[in-house]
Symmetry: C2
Subunit: 88 residues, 2 copies
């Protein structure tokens, strides 16, 4: 695979920053309200599994943005899943 | 850009199916409980913006999986944002 040009990697990194950090306010909301009731467990279990596959995809196509983003997103999704079980 | 091999596109499409359809149970939960209170608006606004950028990225690298996934994910995130405003 040819490496992805830097300009496109910058768009990817910006995309990654947004989609990944978007989970932070959700984790914060759950932590602050001490409730994960409004959040769907099915959503986060499916999402987590999908992110793990995207990680393999990103690694294969040598995409720095996708690899970094998916490692962090998977971790944040896992925190939400943990809260969902802990607070129920 | 060289096209991405079919085997890798299949992993990508599986990843896409999971991360994209994961939003369906969340939309269903909001619709069923008629409440989007537990969901973070900040999360979905950031997530939506990021998905739009991933869409450009996917188009550039000629990734079928990323393009299709991001169009559908953006639509589902938009439905959640709509409910968040409507039900508040």
């Amino acid at each position: 695979m040819k490496a992805i040009p830097l300009s496109i990697e910058i768009i990817g990194l910006l995309a990654a920053t947004l989609t990944t950090s978007s989970f932070v306010p959700q984790v914060y909301k759950i932590w602050k309200t001490k409730s994960a009731e409004g959040v769907s467990l099915t959503m986060f279990l499916m999402f987590f599994s999908g992110v793990i596959l995207w990680l393999f995809y990103g690694l294969y196509i040598h995409s720095v943005a996708m690899t970094v983003a998916n490692v962090i997103t998977a971790s944040l999704a896992l925190i939400i899943i943990y809260y969902k079980f802990k607070l129920k």
